[in-house]
Symmetry: C2
Subunit: 225 residues, 2 copies
């Protein structure tokens, strides 16, 4: 049974830890301290120890953490032992790119079905992934038992598609549209708004410059992203 109350911030770092542990394991390293890990993943060592401690006492005092054991633990925690199939809703610019990318790099996630309205796409195989009509979506999601969807459709149909996804029994949506979709409470939505992120970065850059030219330039790290 999984432990309770893992903070969101901690959960976001788990894949990062796992990836680096794999790297260490491949490199033949047997042990790692929170201090060393901290250097590599750029997370404070106390935060790392705190993060790990939510899952129990995983380390040995005076020694550090056993790389293989910790890697295996996170592998299980992150469900790396089984393949997770993901649906791609909207095979346009960004959708095609994500298909191509397909999260291949050594983690058990793959896009296994695409959906679109374009007649010329429906029934084809793109990057090894079959593309279905949006009309078949509810049915196929259910049939293929897909729990997670990536939403890369035009903004104006984002909410409609979200509704269909809910109907199809989806449990999580990675939403690349700028629309904040409304879904039942038990559905997890993670928004990734690339334009927004870039605009924020640019805002900070310009902001920082203005600060440099202003009277006082202390407190600059208040503006670090």
């Amino acid at each position: 049974m999984v432990e309770k109350k893992i903070p969101k911030a901690t959960a976001r770092r788990l894949p990062l830890y796992y990836r680096y542990l794999r790297f260490l394991y491949e490199a033949g390293k047997e042990r790692i301290s929170s201090a060393k890990l901290s250097e590599a993943v750029k997370v404070d060592s106390a935060t790392i120890r705190r993060d790990f401690s939510y899952f129990g006492a995983l380390g040995k005092r005076g020694y550090g953490y056993d790389v293989e054991a910790l890697m295996n633990f996170f592998s299980k925690t992150l469900n790396q032992d089984r393949l997770t199939n993901v649906a791609l809703i909207g095979v346009g610019n960004l959708g095609q790119a994500l298909l191509n990318y397909n999260f291949r790099r050594n983690n058990n996630i793959r896009i296994s079905a695409g959906f679109d309205v374009k007649e010329e796409l429906i029934g084809t195989i793109q990057q090894g992934v079959p593309i279905y009509s949006i009309n078949e979506m509810v049915e196929q999601l259910d049939l293929q038992q897909i729990d997670v969807a990536i939403l890369t459709v035009p903004s104006d149909i984002a909410q409609d598609m979200a509704n269909k996804l809910v109907e199809g029994g989806i449990k999580g949506i990675m939403n690349f549209t700028p629309i904040r979709v409304t879904v039942p409470e038990h559905i997890r939505v993670h928004n990734v708004d690339l334009t927004n992120e870039l605009q924020t970065l640019i805002y900070f850059i310009n902001y920082y410059q203005d600060m440099e030219n202003s009277d006082d330039d202390e407190d600059l790290d208040d503006f670090m992203l």
Copy 2:
């Protein structure tokens, strides 16, 4: 002169507010209250008022906010009056996709130069954007006065490319690689790790399911992403 001490969390929401204000303006709306805005952008109304207040008293008590005035204010704040040129480092899968996408939708950001090592790409124009050799990068960044770079290269050369970007005088990096690059303090790095985000989402989904099947299922929103 720009106001000081805008919290990071507030800055991240500015593009979201701006986008919706534009929508309201296009729709002919003249005024908007924090309560109405809250419904649309899914941010608590008190948070919205607090966010706005960092920039001064932008609203009128008993009335709300003037849509056009607020839109114009954020337009200036987000530097929408001038075009920001961005470099794309690495024209592979994800890079090609971002080129195609090119952040076009009504905001003044555009990828104006691409860089890669592949001989067959160098010297070509992709989606209207010229692709240069990595060897010319430092020179071109300087020449074209590009301040922001999108890093979509293989992990193993991510740090090398970051070094070159610093050399080329870049001020901000949007890093799509899973590597946490090391750069001088004054350079802003924003990490967008798509695989990581998806893994985290899946973790929460599975976590939540386990919780449902466990003895107590209270406190469920502790696990909301």
